[in-house]
Symmetry: C2
Subunit: 684 residues, 2 copies
């Protein structure tokens, strides 16, 4: 009797009645869960305790089974011993319970894989849906539903999904301290049934959820995760912490491109492609949520700091610039406006320092004036103990109300500004822990709003629309690979293969001197290291001598001739590559070429395929972009052609599933057009 998805979600988050299944004796988990639910305001008459002895607690009656409760139990909280869980779920399903939250630990995380499989089996057979096991419970503040051991946060618009219960606990505790309102919280533990993808899909449509905060350590299926995450992020911001960025996650690879890959870099690319906002600490995640739920959209990067003290203002300006905001001086016209009402001892740079004598009126009028010119403001007040900060908060508040631009507020230190912070929170305005954290939050918000329009979902579909094709057969030598690239629309230079010295001269003449000659032999993979590449061959004599040299080198194995190209100079050399990530599948890489590839670590990655616009963004993310735009007396490279090449290459691993890794290195970027200089393909 499978329930529809809607049934299940309502049962989980808006149950008519809840059964707590397990022991509720004092000191037991069940005891604390029951207390939390009651203290959180869930009506006791819609709560039941179920355990073999039918023992209740804290005024809630106990029953031997769900069926005996006589309540419309939509959802069960399970804290029985692990061995009993499958049977308990079975009984729940038979009694019409559609959702269960299994807090009990001792499943796959301790090696009890069979127990977890048994849970899945019940899910498959009965249609009951399960959160957990080994989880820290759920919260729905808008249904006064708190079956969790973590702190009960105030109600609001942030929903948190956390693989780790403790991370959820810290976040919820901070949310309470800082007045951040929470809608739903789900600790999904081992994800025997419901996982982060299911939850993202639900929260995308949940009207109570304004912003989703997601903590993950790993995902099972990168593409499925990408689909769910990008669909959610198109509806509302998703702030993601992806933990576990260690060396050990890095896979051994064979190619140049692959060696640059680390699992974390791929996650980073994937999150970006989904339009998610990556946070690098819990504090940053909290600050983003505060900013998103408490401030209007941040529509640009020009920020101004209004402060009553120099040092913290300067520290905030530094961090704002580091985080990618612009901290430009006010225009002369704005300075003139400010001079009309500010005392002369105020500093009218950026930060604008009202000094310790800054007043309610000073904050109000200054902020009102600067918001006409800037995209956002940061209002700092570092209060000495003798100063009442409430009027200053009022000044900030008035300016805020008069504008549709964001003002991130940070009043400090906590012990001194408590009343002012309370006043601000009562009006829905967050107070950031420091000006620096306010600056980082604004920067992330600006990125979010700028990026939101760009996100393409198509990448997250599987496979190649035109169907998979085989690679040309082995040996797949350089001329074969170049021909194959050309067939696939990837620009390669004109080239010819010569099998004799006479052919070499004829080929070189046809291409036009100077030329490059390379040995062709299945035994010689690293041609340069064997002396198998001759650059700048200038005339017939050199071509003949060159061919003979290559023939001697090739004679070490099977000599298949020489491949002859035009000698390309005055081009920027870049790398375009492909590798397969175990979670996300094919990934395309762009970066600086030559010996600097690994040194620079100046690469941009995307889960493949990418379109031309996304490819152009990849190029813009790298430092080498500043050279490609034209630098050091050289004309700019053809960035349109480069983006087109990246986009075409990014589709190859989907069309040719045999490709494990591929390096195009160098790719020559010229003022008009791009050309592949060398190619290496590694098959699966």
């Amino acid at each position: 009797m499978a329930s529809t998805p809607d049934d299940f979600w309502s049962a989980l988050f808006y149950p008519r009645a809840v059964a707590l299944i397990g022991s509720v004796g004092e000191g037991k988990l069940g005891y604390y869960l029951l207390r939390q639910m009651l203290e959180g305001g869930f009506p006791p008459e819609r709560l039941a305790v179920v355990n073999p002895k039918g023992q209740g607690a804290q005024g809630v009656a106990g029953h031997p089974s769900v069926a005996d409760t006589g309540m419309p139990v939509d959802m069960a909280i399970v804290v029985t011993p692990a061995a009993a869980v499958p049977a308990v779920l079975e009984e729940c399903a038979q009694s019409g319970v559609r959702a269960a939250v299994v807090i009990t630990a001792g499943f796959s995380e301790t090696g009890n894989v069979a127990g977890e499989e048994a849970i899945r089996d019940v899910v498959r057979r009965t249609g009951i849906r399960v959160v957990g096991p080994n989880c820290a419970g759920i919260v729905n503040t808008h249904h006064t539903l708190f079956p969790t051991l973590e702190t009960r946060p105030p109600a609001g618009g942030v929903s948190l999904i956390a693989q780790s219960g403790a991370v959820g606990g810290v976040f919820l505790a901070w949310a309470k301290e800082q007045g951040l309102g929470v809608a739903k919280f789900v600790s999904y533990g081992n994800a025997a049934d419901l996982n982060e993808c299911d939850l993202l899909r639900y929260l995308a449509d949940d009207p109570q959820t304004q912003v989703v905060a997601l903590y993950i350590e790993e995902v099972q299926d990168g593409r499925a995760f990408g689909r769910a995450l990008s669909a959610c992020a198109r509806r509302k911001p998703v702030v993601v912490i992806k933990a576990g960025r260690t060396e050990s996650g890095r896979r051994a690879t064979l190619s140049h491109t692959g060696s640059m890959a680390g699992a974390d870099a791929v996650y980073d690319a994937a999150l970006r492609q989904c339009g998610a906002v990556r946070a690098h600490s819990l504090e940053e995640m909290l600050d983003f949520c505060l900013g998103y739920t408490g401030l209007p959209p941040v529509r640009g990067r020009r920020v101004v700091i209004v402060t009553n003290s120099g040092g913290p203002g300067v520290l905030t300006a530094d961090r704002a610039e580091e985080a990618g905001l612009e901290v430009a001086e006010p225009s002369p016209a704005l300075k003139e406006r400010l001079l009309a009402f500010l005392p002369s001892h105020c500093a009218l740079g950026n930060p604008i320092d009202l000094t310790v004598e800054g007043t309610e009126e000073g904050y109000r009028r200054t902020l009102a004036a600067v918001l006409d010119e800037y995209d956002a403001a940061i209002a700092l007040n570092i209060a000495p103990a003798y100063l009442d900060s409430v009027p200053l908060a009022r000044g900030v508040m008035d300016a805020l109300r008069g504008s549709d631009k964001p003002v991130a507020v940070s009043f400090l230190p906590a012990a001194i500004v408590a009343s002012a912070v309370e006043y601000l929170r009562a009006q829905g305005i967050p107070n950031f822990a420091t000006g620096e954290r306010a600056a980082v939050a604004l920067a992330r918000l600006a990125e979010y709003y700028a990026r939101r329009e760009e996100v393409a979902e198509s990448v997250w579909e599987d496979g190649a629309p035109e169907g998979a094709r085989p690679l040309p057969p082995e040996p797949f030598l350089e001329p074969d690979a170049m021909a194959w690239l050309a067939e696939n629309g990837v620009p390669v230079p004109e080239f010819r293969v010569a099998r004799t010295a006479d052919e070499a001269v004829a080929a070189a003449r046809a291409i036009g001197y100077p030329v490059v000659m390379k040995v062709v032999s299945p035994q010689i993979l690293h041609k340069s290291e064997w002396g198998g590449v001759i650059l700048g061959v200038a005339d017939d004599e050199a071509a003949r001598a060159g061919f003979e040299r290559l023939a001697r080198i090739g004679a070490e194995g099977e000599f298949r001739g020489a491949v002859i190209y035009p000698f390309i100079r005055d081009a920027w050399e870049v790398l375009v590559g492909i590798f397969r990530d175990p979670q996300f599948g094919p990934v395309v890489v762009f970066g600086a070429g030559g010996i600097y590839t690994e040194l620079l670590k100046d690469v941009a990655m995307r889960v493949a395929p990418v379109g031309r616009e996304e490819a152009a963004r990849m190029v813009r993310e790298t430092r080498i972009h500043s050279l490609l735009r034209g630098a050091r007396g050289r004309p700019p490279g053809d960035l349109d052609a480069l983006a087109d090449l990246i986009a075409r290459v990014s589709r190859l691993p989907l069309v040719y599933p045999e490709i494990a890794e591929m390096d195009l290195n160098p790719v020559f970027v010229r003022p008009r057009g791009v050309l592949v200089g060398d190619v290496r393909v590694i098959r699966r």
Copy 2:
């Protein structure tokens, strides 16, 4: 009547009696200062108020002048209007006051330069010493002395010097919240008399000060600052925030080297050379102080995380690795030891996860065991509300007591673990705000202890021991500059100058083909862009043709011939340069050469001169070091010769004060020896 320095410092920090000079009416600054001093415990009978009407307040008697107080007033706090300050100081000096803290604002910071000069004049004439003006006061907890408007912190070993009073205020408020003990605090404001250098010199010898925290925005004299800072840092750690890292601080420069210079990068280098620890936020500064005063020395980078929950442990591990610590798995032997007493559901990686069932005994025995193998541990406890964390804190405490290695503790969330944190603090053990912040603090401490031995003070002496010499006269063409470098012991390739084609052939033969030929002409600075460099000249014919080509190019201006070098291949190309920083004087730069110099921003800097060991450290700081050590099939470069070259070059701007900037780019680093490939000198 100048007092000796000792007199002055005792008067400032350990006054027998203090006069508060100015109005003390309710709501005035003087009123709050008086209240702070009284609440802080300064004996009222050793306090006097001085103002024209002789009005006292809060039980402290007022007098019309210091002389009338009848007390041995060693120190005065001045809050009179700015115009009165010089006369007040004069009267103080005449009455035997040896130190004054001028809180009054309205001097140079608002354009009143004359007022500040008048203060300096009194200092010069009378010998009274002044902190401020425009400052937030001072603190000496060990003398119950709190003439400040900021929060009164608990007594302890941290002394804080802050140019910004508000930064001091935030730090002191946090110190109180987090139980960080403070010895002295000085807000030195405009530094009309005493500045950061004076204070560093005093605190270096102050037995109450274990660690110095310094907040600066700028310094007047970089070398004097370096002398004071390095002398202090050799005695005790100095944590420095240098704020104001903005673009606008960057100077316009002419050379390749100079263009990489930003004022902040030079400060960064200088702080490193002084052995100071740079903090990038107030929170980081606080955490370092907590760690230094509360933990034993951190003697290595191998850290283990012991936690009772997965997620926060992983976040901590990530941050620890990012901050430069090693987070390696326990050895098999250690795992076996742990297995002997830990339940099987615990995870024995790194983090070691005791799970939510972690006990006092579990923490105690686990930490005791891991400290035998690791250099430091981080103990995390993410407490659910139903768990008493005090026993866990006791377990940690016991392990701590049994070892001389550091354990950084972070118990969370604050509201739940309050008693445990209180217990830890009572034993002198700090609690870090998060595991991530604990990790960064440990990393900084490890750096501090490792670096402490390396710091050389000699750089901070002025000038060249051997005396200044003039540069050779203009025109100072490439052969002249090469010869000059050689005279100064900097290795350059063999070279010859040819004035005719015949001379060119003879020179090339003498050097040995292939050679490089370059045009010599005072009009041609950018030789490559003019086609004035010919690489790989292979024989007599090519040498003759090459000379003729250079002669044609040179004929655009004054052709002085061709300089001929051996053609150096298979060498790594690096850059060594010199520029002058307005604060710190000559700076030496090392980095990747060629077109990648600016792209990579992969440079290490030091205030010049440096010795060979410091030069070797510069090389090791860069990413290109990984190539120079031998990579991609090429042998390692001669790093000893490179360090020697950097050290020699670093002395040149001191011996030759005419040098404004200098680029040696490229410098060829070969398996044996290094050679300068090109040189450019810009004179002042």
